[in-house]
């Protein structure tokens, strides 16, 4: 089947040309350390074998951009706890089901009677609530700016339709300040950022001007298809070569400089910035989106009087170092042994977008 605006961006002939020109442009230089912030880029890079195509030219470091991976296990425990309440339906995106908390996972507890349902859209959760008035429906609001307007939109829809039995357990995060935290960590040693495609569609490429300016780091917004990524890397290398540190946009067919103003308005109507813990990284001030008081009737934490603990867990899983780009997944002692996609130990192996799962499935290429 032909897929317009996807197939053209996977053309093998153009990919060969881009790889050749990139190698030629960088000949004789040490590999540039580039962080791909977003988990969707991580998967696309692994699937297309871009690491091996550009070996010796760039070192691609996977960042913290897999929402499931950075959600602390205290959140999973809170979700499991809510699911154990009588007459409660947990509604979630698929990847969250298998993530282990400190005690259990939603998938394991499904066998013990938890009603956890996988949805495509948060609006589906509102619909379930409308049809099950005798039950509480809690949506697990996990994601970045790409998903934030959809979750906010669902809350607005529930408010509009006066559906009192719908709520959201919010673990929504924002990317630019997290990038600044990584850029300022001397152990991470990043020389440039490949910026997310759809986060940027919402927030706009101008959102990276502070990180590019403060840390002198080239930033390029790139689409998720292989040619987008190859071209984005080429643009980063050219910036580095001429000593520039600006924000460029390869994904101009969707992302603009200012972003989607209307979506940003929907986000800020429902959410306000707050501090939030990232698994393995710790609390990053101002990178969380919490539900505003006006909508507290739809905030599961307020409604059920629970708090999501944010202290770090202590295990042999080196997820945090993987998420910060300090080590590659095979350098974790559990990788491929005590932790596999069938029996995952850490979230980076659970999520299909996790760096560990991508390395396990496609190898280090």
């Amino acid at each position: 089947m032909q897929l317009k605006y996807i197939d053209e961006f996977r053309d093998p002939g153009l990919a060969r040309g881009l790889v050749e020109k990139t190698r030629a442009a960088w000949a004789g230089r040490p590999p540039m350390r580039i962080m791909e912030v977003c988990g969707t880029h991580t998967v696309s890079i692994a699937r297309a074998g871009i690491r091996s195509l550009l070996s010796g030219v760039v070192t691609l470091i996977s960042g913290p951009g897999c929402p499931v991976c950075v959600t602390p296990d205290g959140y999973i425990d809170a979700a499991v706890g809510l699911g154990m309440r009588p007459d409660t339906i947990i509604a979630t995106f698929g990847d969250m089901l298998r993530v282990p908390g400190r005690r259990s996972s939603l998938e394991k507890e499904r066998g013990n009677g938890i009603d956890a349902r996988v949805l495509y859209s948060p609006l589906d959760a509102v619909e379930i609530a409308a049809k099950n008035k005798d039950k509480e429906v809690v949506f697990l609001g996990v994601g970045f700016e790409t998903t934030a307007p959809s979750i906010a939109g669902a809350i607005l829809a529930a408010a509009d339709r006066k559906i009192p039995n719908f709520s959201v357990l919010s673990s929504v995060r924002t990317i630019p300040l997290a990038m600044e935290a990584l850029a300022s960590d001397p152990e991470v040693r990043i020389e440039g950022f490949l910026c997310p495609a759809h986060v940027s569609a919402i927030i706009g490429s101008d959102a990276y001007i502070p990180v590019a300016g403060k840390f002198g780091l080239p930033c390029v917004v790139a689409g998720f298809e292989p040619l987008d990524i190859l071209c984005g890397i080429y643009m980063l290398l050219l910036q580095k070569k001429r000593g520039a540190a600006s924000v460029e946009n390869e994904y101009a067919r969707v992302a603009t400089a200012a972003g989607n103003r209307k979506a940003l308005g929907v986000i800020s109507r429902v959410f306000e910035p707050g501090d939030i813990a990232w698994r393995g990284i710790g609390v990053l001030p101002g990178t969380g989106l919490r539900i505003r008081e006006d909508f507290s009737a739809f905030d599961a934490q307020v409604k059920f009087g629970i708090a999501v603990p944010s202290e770090a867990e202590k295990t042999a899983c080196r997820c945090g170092d993987v998420l910060k780009g300090k080590i590659t997944p095979p350098q974790c002692p559990l990788f491929g042994k005590a932790c596999t996609p069938e029996e995952p130990y850490g979230p980076c192996m659970v999520s299909s977008e996790g760096s560990c799962a991508a390395y396990f499935k496609y190898g280090a290429a």
Partner: protein
């Protein structure tokens, strides 16, 4: 989790629209975009059209790929 799919708008009805993705039709929310009309291309994510897709910009980017691939001069 930030994957989005290009979809063509078939019909608009208030804050929702029918879109076509790879031959299949589905209903999505267009509350995040102003002035969507039939024939527009949008990016779908979690049941919402999150942004438009510009055909001209797509062509421009593809032309850039061709230009880089064909160039004999190294920048």
């Amino acid at each position: 989790m930030c994957l989005g799919v290009p979809a063509r708008v078939v019909e608009v009805a208030g804050a929702s629209a029918t879109v076509e993705v790879g031959g299949a039709r589905r209903e999505v929310s267009i509350m995040l975009l102003d002035g969507v009309s039939a024939g527009d291309w949008v990016i779908l994510h979690a049941g919402f059209a999150i942004e438009r897709l510009s055909a001209e910009e797509a062509e421009r980017t593809l032309a850039l790929f061709r230009e880089i691939s064909d160039a004999t001069e190294i920048h």
